[in-house]
Point group: C2
Chain length 178, copies 2
């Protein structure tokens, strides 16, 4: 991504958080993580992340999704002796459509990112509105997309070790392994 | 505490959370924990708590403090093979004065609850305003008080096992051991 694209996404994410009453320090604002997963289509597949804390026991983040922006399908495998990351998503603003393993929902609310259909394989839908939450168990494939107004999701979890995440889309795996 | 006191405190906490843009489900609203630590002076020493999740790996809560309300001094000891609870306090609204072990601050901003002076022993002050956070290491004595407008604090932590907490005030220990 170009620097200006990252800066613009960062500003947009900070604005969305502020509108939801979530305040960041100047340092946090300057360090909002903008992830396009190496796919080069941030608006379609991407995520903006504020990591409040990530230590060897727990982690807490704020996830910002632009309208219809999608975090691609992935899972958190065991790392060493520890089971994979376990995470609780709590919707703060907007609506987020979360998909996990299980019986596929017949007509899902999300739009699978065009051109990436082969890399989305789980379709059990959990719709989360402000105040609603869902816990994703370790090793479970999942992906999520914001509704038309975007979304803010608080993530409470065990330790985050993003570098071990396994994405269904092999283009992302190759990126991570560079 | 009388039922009506609990219900009133619960309503007040939900209102404060809503004003800060933090939405709860109906079930969560009905289950806000109102703790007076058995001291019978909720306004002075007490805490209102929403526990979002508490599993064997992590915990996340929202803490609501009324104006000048104080959570009494305590620490989180090791439990079994695990080190004591580690917790990150992130201020969301108002101001919270947190006191931990270390060099005492010369003129602290909090007012030690009258009549309980003997049970407050650590005075290293950390003032947290919205967007600011601090991580309390396991085994460290701490207490906190809201400013004049009350406060909302998000707590991200390792597993919460409140029944093992060690309070400096022996009246609270007796309460917990009943």
């Amino acid at each position: 991504m170009k620097d200006e694209q990252i800066l613009a996404a960062r500003r947009r994410a900070v604005k969305k958080l502020a509108a939801a009453g979530i305040q960041l320090t100047d340092v946090e604002q300057a360090n909002v993580e903008v992830a396009d997963f190496g796919l080069g289509e941030l608006e379609l597949q991407g995520l903006e992340i504020v990591t409040y804390v990530n230590n060897d026991r727990y982690c807490a983040k704020e996830l910002v999704l632009f309208p219809r922006q999608t975090c691609p399908e992935h899972l958190h495998p065991p790392v060493g002796d520890e089971p994979g990351k376990m995470e609780t998503f709590r919707c703060r603003a907007g609506v987020v459509y979360l998909y996990v393993e299980g019986k596929a929902t017949s007509a899902i609310a999300a739009q699978v990112p065009p051109g990436s259909e082969a890399h989305y394989t789980v379709f059990h839908e959990v719709a989360l509105r402000p105040g609603e939450q869902y816990t994703i168990m370790p090793g479970i494939k999942h992906w999520f997309q914001a509704g038309d107004a975007g979304a803010i999701v608080s993530e409470f979890s065990s330790t985050s070790r993003d570098e071990f995440d396994l994405f269904t889309d092999p283009r992302i795996a190759r990126m991570a392994n560079l």
